[in-house]
Symmetry: C2
DNA sequence: ATTAATACTAATAATCATTATCATATACAC
DNA sequence: GTGTATATGATAATGATTATTAGTATTAAT
């Protein structure tokens, strides 16, 4: 179990139950993946067979509210969760419209845009950027 | 009724029923707003009292699939529709976390990011950018 | 330790947006 | 006008998420 995370839990006087530990482990085991609540449930059941879906939702929500997880919605209308980038700026996503794979990228050129909006009187606290297109593999396949 | 739009409808051999006309008119009457299916239904009923919710969903979906409408989801877990920017690049959104108002902006600095991704082998067909923060009015109120 | 208060859980019902079904109605090409 | 593919309204079904509830585990106070 990650040290920073357990510290955060204590700060928010948040009890570390078996269920929560199971959910956290699932997320840690799946770095880089974007899991739905149902997917988390399935994996968590292998560690804790009678964990319920409501507990999974509650736990994911709590972890997201303390920025341990990052919650976002891709095409398909359901939320997905992933481990949050700790110090660095949260990365952004490229969704392949063919295979559905989600790629990630780190570059961030949005600071200039943010300054422009701030010059107009807004205070920006977060942004979310998604690209949709075709990944290199799918383009190759489609060429044939 | 907009000329370009009726042309598009013909191209997709799309029958022009009263219901579809009503939905389209609602969208044209609400340029700049972001309406949910339920909101469209309410307004459409004033033109066509027995239009059903399923027809509204079907029509919105079709109009979006032929790029007459733009469909997106903000916080709140339901899709919203608005007239699509015809020639120019679809604008982006700033959502105020206090009052919920959705502001729009046109600036687009994403071309450089897109080129970088294309250099990596991706083909980008669309992108979506949302900012979350506080609008000038809410900041003013909060200061007091 | 015993009790009382609090936090957490599983099961399941309820909700809400969206989609599917199906019998009837309509647009439009001929 | 007729035929037929398409569209419609009513409503059931679905799928994701949230709320409820009764029971269990933890903690805090005696
Ligand atoms: Mn990611
Ligand atoms: Mn808009
Ligand atoms: Zn792909
Ligand atoms: Zn505001």
């Amino acid at each position: 179990m990650d040290k920073k995370i357990t510290e955060k839990l204590k700060e928010n006087n948040y009890k570390l139950t078996e269920q929560r530990e199971a959910v956290l482990e699932v997320m840690l085991d799946n770095r880089g993946k974007h899991l739905s609540a149902e997917e988390v449930l399935q994996e968590a059941k292998q560690k804790m067979p009678n964990i319920g879906i409501a507990t999974v939702y509650r736990t994911l929500e709590k972890l997201a509210s303390m920025d341990i997880l990052y919650k976002t919605m891709f095409e398909g209308g359901k939320f997905r969760y992933e481990l949050s980038d700790e110090d660095t700026h949260q990365h952004h996503h490229i969704v392949c419209l063919k295979c559905g794979h989600i790629y990630e990228f780190e570059e961030d050129l949005l600071n200039e845009l943010e300054s422009r909006l701030e010059a107009r009187g807004f205070e920006i606290v977060d942004h979310e950027l998604k690209f949709y297109g075709y990944c290199p593999e799918c383009r190759e396949k489609m060429r044939k």
